[in-house]
Symmetry: C2
Subunit: 454 residues, 2 copies
């Protein structure tokens, strides 16, 4: 398999072969690549090149082409498929596991996805449609329904024979054991099968204490369990504890990446499902409401400044240093907020130890405030010759960085306690608060000490 | 295994048993928990409770206690150990795999870690010391040197016998095959062993095209390979391709989480290794330099305002609306920056498709700018009765959001091209630019149109 350098070499060849139209050579080269490498090559091609290369591969090796499309992720993968006729998509979708097919079909434009489902073989379209009925971001939505399980009365010898003939099932490193009504009753590791005599029935050697996920479990919770217990896969059961699917660790890795992306995005006020190449119109639609809220809060901050228009009229120099107080508070608040939000996401922080976190953040905020406030005060005294102006600026910075630390800790913890995603607090609340408090403390102090200002 | 609710119940019992000093019952309860659940319970206890509970468990079940400490992560785990005598830590460290022991010992205070290594059994301390010699964040540092491998001439029957007697090795789902000088030459899946006759030598059935990681490979690259190729483990080789260790997918999940945390932190100007409970003095030391840079850039922004002090003297109302232009540009720039930085981290964006991203972001920026600028202009016209002031504000917002989009795209892509972590660009550059351009365009336009301002 390939390093980035090898992929770059292949990429150059692909582009060259496309340019000279050497289809047979191109097909030959593409067929030698791992699906993950193909996905990366597709990503780095221009739109037209990507479609041309995909066509060459899909015509001759539909499975590999679709495995590569799956690796692109559902959004980019569906975008690549969407230019093709429904008949072809339906045929190609049957080449890959139904959970991957469902994820792709879900991202196709609505009419096209209906046509594709209609054109698929009934058995396969039913499986896909069943998956799509589970709510988004649940275990049911991301599981592979094609799970390998055996009855508890099967012997070890029979089990080995079954494994030998099993095809197209997700990873049989764990052997799930079910009763006659398909209730999940235990698990046997493949290695354990090798340790006992062939006549032993599975129920004698299985582990009955088994971690499973309910179909409606949030995918983030599924990922947390797999990660916490170092599992390679987790079985999925319905409300009656019947085994209905499996989620493997590679899918969990995708979930962890997606959830991290969502956290990063929310802190910046971006929708969790936006990607670098989401169409401009859609990005605009997704980001505008957020910026609209920002605009409203910005007017609040402006209103605070408006309270002191008289003071600014007397001392226009205040307008010059006003942004420093607000900006530094915003930056310090964002630092605190980020550490707290991530601490909550990683499960390190909860209500029970939140006081400790608050004390720490306030100490850090005051420490930073004093150090930076004193520096700024000195600089302003030096360049403007007014010790009072420096003092007012420095004091306002200390106050504002204290507010930033307290708000950056309490707002996400409070949201968490109210069962709201703490990342949604995001910079907007914090920077609004630090703007308002910053302007208020700076201009307020300046008004109080007006007679000492030069 | 346990849900959050069950953990909360256990947590309450642990606190109660600690309070009444029922050590035997406490030990009994703790011993029934999975290490990952114990880690979460430890996290939610107060410092004193945590130490008391750990003491009870460590005295009687050192292995389980240390597995729980490992699950806490190296920093929090080392903090819990650091209060104990070196002799005890040395004894406990030998209960867990050497990669986990190395990670913990690395985080102990320097004198203590030297004492611990000195007191461990020579064989084990050598293994740990060897691991600690690899650079941080490399494959060598996070691998488990205890890897199961067999010679290529071993038969399938012999391999199965070896597996049956293997203990304490990381996960034998893959069987690595080495030549007589321990060069890595192939891999056999456990399942494949079941499909062939016992006399077959491994070299006949092994896959020779095997993905491995060099000891000096960056851990992020290791994680990318394991995730891309859906591996359960990756073998680690030295410069001569000799097999020296294994990294399993559960360790890769930890790397992915850490790297995501680092990206989130860097965007906010926080050091990647800070955690919610890093001591206040250390957090202060880590955050202050960053805020210091911010202070310098804030003075640049103030200098831009200073250029227009005369205009503000004439129209102090400008100071009121000045923060709106800068703030909206900063927010829009942060959105763009976040999408681009994450797109780079997820491998979706590179130089080759950067123009497409730039065009998109500029379109979104202009769209948002026109929509929000027009709104703000109308509001200002209404509340201040000055159409010119509204027009100046609206125009400045359009200009600034265009700048924000361009800078938010080009700065991280440029840093990436220069082989600097794009997340380091972070908000500071972007918000400095949007502050400076925002003030300049707003106050500059106001100066030009001064005679029309009321």
């Amino acid at each position: 398999m390939a390093t980035q350098r090898r992929i770059d070499l292949v990429l150059d060849s692909v582009k060259r072969l496309l340019r000279i139209g050497a289809t047979a050579n191109l097909l030959n080269l593409l067929q030698k690549q791992h699906p993950a490498d193909l996905a990366q090559i597709f990503t780095e091609l221009q739109d037209k090149e990507r479609e041309a290369a995909f066509t060459v591969l899909a015509d001759r090796n539909g499975r590999l082409a679709m495995e590569a499309v799956s690796e692109l992720g559902p959004e980019a993968g569906a975008a690549l498929l969407a230019t093709r006729p429904a008949e072809e998509i339906a045929k190609l979708a049957q080449e890959i596991p139904s959970d991957d097919a469902a994820a792709l079909i879900d991202y196709l434009p609505e009419e096209l996805s209906a046509a594709v489902l209609h054109l698929m073989r009934p058995k396969e379209s039913t499986v896909v449609e069943n998956l799509l009925e589970y709510a988004e971001r649940t275990a049911g939505r991301i599981m592979n329904p094609n799970v390998f399980a055996l009855s508890e009365d099967v012997t070890v010898g029979e089990a080995i024979t079954e494994i030998q003939s099993a095809r197209d099932v997700e990873m049989v490193f764990y052997l799930y054991v079910v009763d006659e009504r398909r209730h999940l009753v235990g698990v046997v590791s493949l290695r354990r099968l090798l340790l006992v005599s062939p006549e032993t029935p599975l129920k004698r050697i299985m582990t009955a204490d088994i971690t499973s996920a309910r179909v409606d479990m949030d995918q983030e919770e599924v990922a947390r369990q797999v990660a916490a217990y170092n599992l390679l896969a987790i079985p999925v059961v319905d409300a009656e504890n019947k085994l209905v699917g499996i989620i493997t660790v590679d899918d969990v890795i995708d979930v962890i990446k997606d959830e991290a992306t969502e956290d990063i995005y929310r802190l910046a006020g971006v929708a969790g499902d936006e990607r670098a190449f989401t169409p401009a119109s859609e990005s605009l639609r997704k980001r505008l409401p957020w910026l609209g809220i920002n605009l409203i809060t910005a007017f609040f901050a402006a209103a605070v400044v408006g309270l002191f228009e008289g003071t600014i009229d007397l001392f226009p120099v205040l307008a010059v240093f006003m942004p420093i107080v607000a900006g530094m508070g915003g930056n310090a608040g964002t630092q605190t907020l980020t550490v707290i939000v991530r601490g909550i996401a990683l499960g390190e922080l909860s209500w029970s130890n939140s006081r400790k976190a608050l004390v720490k953040e306030v100490l850090v905020g005051l420490g930073n405030g004093v150090a930076l406030g004193a520096t700024a005060a000195l600089v302003v005294w030096l360049i403007r010759g007014s010790p009072t102006l420096g003092l007012v600026l420095g004091l306002a910075m200390v106050i504002n960085m204290f507010v930033a630390a307290a708000a950056g800790t309490l707002v996400p913890l409070g949201l968490r306690a109210a069962n709201v995603d703490p990342a949604l607090a995001s910079s907007v609340f914090i920077t609004t608060m630090t703007d308002m408090f910053g302007f208020f403390s700076f201009l307020g102090l300046a008004t109080v000490f007006a007679r000492y200002l030069v």
